[in-house]
């Protein structure tokens, strides 16, 4: 099989257009990923004079604080994977396998936490659960609590926010693979006498592993690279936070360089994680010839209400920050009371002058970014999953790198790499707005590639080979056979990319110039300027925008395949 593919690629039937496409993908990757990264690595291994040195890394590994940050980041990442796994898997199984009241409503609600813009989300949690948040104020006023309970300021706060924000990513990944597991396999296991736990362990689990591992990886790396959440709750001994804080203070050049060094280290570590995970996913051949129509089981009365209760409680907790954000957006001078005392629409009025431009910019740049992601990412996934083309390992390594790099580092890398007048037009790329969709696309490319890749793994090669045997070329086979079978996975990846792009506020932070502001940049500048209420008002607008896009996509997908949730 492998040899056939290799022959097809190199053989006379390979159309020139495929080769050009292949070349274009590589040109894109080299120019917009490899070249700026080289710049970061160069900085990490260089001193102020520009000479190569290992002193920076020596400083890192002899500094107790940095080492503690490294350890904390690992622990936090693993802890978040565990908590999101428990919740995410439970939700996925309930939604896809069982019938209970309001199942469809819950399946939509379960996606909502995902569209919580990171900065606004944690602010929302603080409004409700902070030291002067609603819960503590009620406890103090009603029950005479003396010292407020510390829900938020510390590692526990970060874990709480990450868990409730990220479990839908786990749910989505599991749902995608689970909906393709052929129930006949499970039935067969049942007939053979394997039931309950045994059936789950021997049949269901291995079949959903690729989806689970990519979900877990996503959660782990997201937590690992998130600096905003810990910052708001005052946790600074994490690697990503150290990288960000060191980079954004430019005055002390030595600390600045350590930020670059830590970023480079984050990259190296993430390569290790992804390599481990990829190896695990790649060694088995998960294939299914058909999407399965899953028969949902009715739950008994007690179990049914337990399921509804669990989901309702979970949704209540995960939607707390949205409630906090909305309250903060309409509250005036809200402090030390359970709910705002005075209400106002001033914050919306203040932001409304600028938001139309923010919204247009957000939609335009994120839309373009998704198109770039699809144009580059889907063919990349296909090359990796289906061909033996030389260099696909390197291609994979590159997308891995992207996943790993903190956005701030990418922003800096782009400024350093592209701030020179381009020959011919005498304008630097950093002075053209196209750099924003470009950097967004690069940042979110891995989501598209990974989701397309894991979907492709589930489509058996034999179908594509059959098409090729009757004379269809690679492109036609892809269009007529592969794409229709995997478009659901690709769509999920595109939604990820879009929602993540429209919420991105780290790489773009350094690159945005006047007139290019997207909503998260607006939120960030209001937050930076200390205007939390205006930040919250913009946050509400972004949440509404994302919820609407999610709903539209859900409807479009629903008309064709009965909803993203099978």
């Amino acid at each position: 099989m492998a040899q056939t593919a290799a022959i097809v690629i190199r053989g006379p039937r390979t159309p020139a257009s495929a080769m050009i496409g292949f070349g274009l993908i590589w040109a894109f990757l080299i120019l917009f990923v490899l070249y700026p990264l080289t710049r970061i690595f160069y900085d990490a291994f260089a001193n102020e004079a520009g000479r190569l040195t290992l002193a920076n890394f020596h400083e890192f590994f002899t500094d107790r604080y940095y080492l503690r940050s490294l350890w904390n980041s690992l622990v936090l990442g693993v802890a978040t994977v565990i908590t999101t796994s428990v919740i995410g898997i439970a939700v996925a199984f309930l939604i896809i396998r069982y019938e209970f009241p309001w199942r469809n409503l819950f399946s939509y609600l379960a996606m909502l936490p995902m569209i919580l813009p990171p900065l606004v989300g944690v602010l929302g949690f603080v409004f409700i659960l902070g030291r002067a948040g609603t819960v503590n104020v009620l406890l103090m006023d009603w029950f005479g609590l003396q010292t407020p309970i510390n829900f938020m300021y510390g590692m526990q706060g970060v874990l709480l926010v990450e868990t409730l924000h990220l479990f839908p990513f786990m749910t989505l990944s599991i749902l995608d693979s689970l909906s393709k597991v052929d129930p006949s396999l499970e039935e067969a296991a049942q007939v053979m006498g394997a039931n309950g736990w045994r059936r789950f362990r021997d049949v269901t689990l291995p079949l959903t592993t690729p989806g689970y591992v990519s979900g877990a990886l996503l959660v782990f790396i997201w937590t690992f690279a998130d600096f905003v959440t810990p910052l708001v709750v005052g946790v600074q001994d994490l690697l990503a936070v150290q990288a960000y804080l060191n980079i954004v203070q430019f005055v002390d050049r030595r600390i600045f360089r350590m930020g670059i060094v830590i970023s480079a280290l984050l990259v190296v570590l993430a390569i290790v994680f992804v390599l481990v995970a990829r190896h695990y996913v790649a060694i088995k051949d998960y294939s299914s010839l058909a999407y399965s129509r899953v028969e949902r089981r009715r739950l008994g009365p007690v179990a049914r209400w337990l399921a509804v209760g669990f989901l309702a409680l979970l949704m209540f907790a995960s939607l707390l920050p949205q409630a906090g954000v909305v309250l903060a957006a309409v509250g005036k001078g809200w402090s030390l009371t359970a709910l705002p005392v005075h209400y106002t629409l001033d914050h919306f009025r203040q932001v409304s002058l600028e938001t139309p431009r923010f919204i247009v910019n957000s939609l335009l740049y994120s839309g373009l970014a998704v198109l770039i992601c699809l144009a580059i990412g889907v063919p990349m996934a296909w090359i990796m999953a289906r061909t033996r083309t030389p260099g696909r390992g390197a291609m994979d390594a590159l997308t891995t790198l992207i996943l790993a790099i903190p956005g701030t580092a990418i922003g800096i890398a782009y400024i350093r790499a592209f701030h020179f007048p381009l020959p011919g037009i005498d304008v630097a790329l950093t002075s053209m707005w196209i750099i924003l969709p470009l950097v967004l696309a690069v940042r979110r490319l891995p989501y598209t590639v990974r989701s397309s890749y894991s979907s492709l793994l589930l489509v058996h090669k034999s179908m594509e080979e059959a098409a090729e045997n009757v004379g269809a070329g690679k492109l036609i086979t892809f269009r007529d056979i592969t794409a229709p079978l995997v478009w659901k996975g690709i769509l999920v990846g595109a939604i990820f990319s879009f929602i993540m792009s429209i919420q991105e506020a780290s790489a773009t932070l350094f690159l945005t110039l006047g007139g290019w502001e997207m909503i998260p940049f607006g939120i960030f500048t209001y937050y930076i300027a200390g205007s939390h209420s205006q930040a919250a008002a913009l946050g509400v607008i972004l949440i509404v925008l994302c919820a609407a896009s999610l709903y539209v996509v859900n409807r479009v997908a629903g008309a064709r395949v009965g909803g993203l949730f099978g």
Binding site: R64, G130, R131, Q249, V251, D252, R416, G514, G530, S531
Partner: protein, 373 residues
């Protein structure tokens, strides 16, 4: 090439300005600031300036401000390497402006002599704080102290008197209730650390700062997060600068007050034009506007103080200007009072990185242990 061509073009325009005043009165129709100063000050400043430009030159200036903390703004200007995406750098510590001028990243200000002369050379004793650059690369715009903010209602709950001096932050009842930004992250916080170190000397100063670390409930990412968390009552007190949003919270209806201890350092909020700016005339016009009576009045309504003895913060009862006076404890002009300054910026800049390292080692990395003491 860029560095030499732009300033010479700039010199040319100023020469033309001297020769043909009518032609020089046209300014460019765009202006971009990069600034740590809060939007509550920059937004009205830019809006008023746009009005002024329409009246004076009949030009519609499209204005915008890139909000960035002082270090970030400084870093971006350095990264731009003389091809700036903004025209004006406004706010922060004058030492950074000197550093930029050394790197030839600031253009010389061609301001009328009367404007420059209206601003005293310095303020404060025994260490005078420069209010303008003798070499002419930057000039002060407004005065504001690096002091303290606190939440009066939370203070009441905790059963303690409002703070008056730095030492009040060490009250054991404030344990876990102080918010501060690390000096490694914020130049204004760094300056306040230096005030303590220079007031008490190294040994006692660091002991003081460690005790403060023990009372600290949060290290924020930026200095202006401190008033933000204090305004909401999440924490009770911390270091702050009025226009870095502290007054903004007061305006937004929050219960928050500011106090400048006697030894608080005062910043002149320097302003300068970036070398290679594409809009040098609009930039210069903006600076002149800020130093005019109209500009100073606009700023005085935002909780900051005039840069010249010519004006005092004053308004009708209940006006925003009077609210600012109340917020900052009754002061109307720094030229009305004797300003004590013990902060030596040269000394601070010379050991900037050393203080950062010592903070990291003795406070940041052992913050948990300090809290338990």
């Amino acid at each position: 090439m860029i560095r030499t061509s732009k300033p010479s073009a700039f010199v040319l325009t100023t020469l033309l300005a001297a020769a043909a005043p009518v032609a020089a009165q046209q300014i460019e129709n765009e202006l971009v600031l990069i600034t740590p100063v809060a939007r509550t000050l920059t937004d009205p400043a830019l809006a008023e300036f746009a009005k002024y430009a329409r009246e004076k030159w009949n030009v519609n200036v499209k204005t915008s401000a890139l909000a960035a903390g002082t270090p970030v703004a400084y870093g971006r200007i350095v990264e731009w390497k003389g091809r700036p995406e903004a025209d004006i750098f406004w706010g922060g510590e004058s030492a950074l402006f000197d550093k930029l001028a050394e790197q030839k990243l600031l253009a010389k200000l061609e301001l009328p002599k009367s404007v420059v002369d209206s601003i005293p050379d310095s303020i404060g004793k025994p260490k005078p704080i420069p209010l303008k650059d003798p070499k002419g690369y930057w000039i002060g715009t407004v005065l504001e102290p690096y002091g303290l903010v606190y939440h009066p209602r939370l203070y009441q709950r905790l059963g303690i008197e409002p703070p008056k001096d730095w030492d009040d932050l060490l009250n054991p009842k404030l344990k876990g209730n102080v918010a501060q930004c690390a000096p490694t992250r914020s130049s204004s916080s760094h300056a306040t650390y230096e005030v303590i170190l220079q007031r008490d000397g190294d040994e006692k100063g660091w002991a003081w700062l460690k005790r403060l670390g023990g009372n600290t409930g949060i290290f924020t990412a930026r200095s202006r997060d401190v008033p933000a968390v204090v305004a909401r009552g999440e924490f009770a007190a911390g270091f702050a600068v009025p226009s870095y949003m502290a007054f903004e919270d007061r305006l937004a209806g929050h219960d928050i007050k500011f106090v400048a201890p006697k030894t608080a350092w005062i910043t002149p909020e320097p302003i300068g034009i970036l070398a290679g700016s594409k809009r040098p005339r609009a930039a210069l016009a903006f600076i002149e506007f800020m130093l005019s009576e109209r500009g100073q009045n606009m700023a005085m309504e935002r909780g900051v103080f005039p840069i010249t003895p010519k004006y005092r913060v004053q308004g009708k009862p209940g006006s925003q200007a009077e609210m600012a006076v109340e917020f900052t404890g009754g002061l109307r002009s720094y030229f009305d009072v004797d300003v004590t300054n013990i902060y030596d910026d040269d000394k601070a800049q010379a050991r900037y990185e050393q203080v950062n390292s010592q903070f990291r080692k003795e406070i940041e990395s052992v913050a948990e242990e300090l809290k338990r003491k």
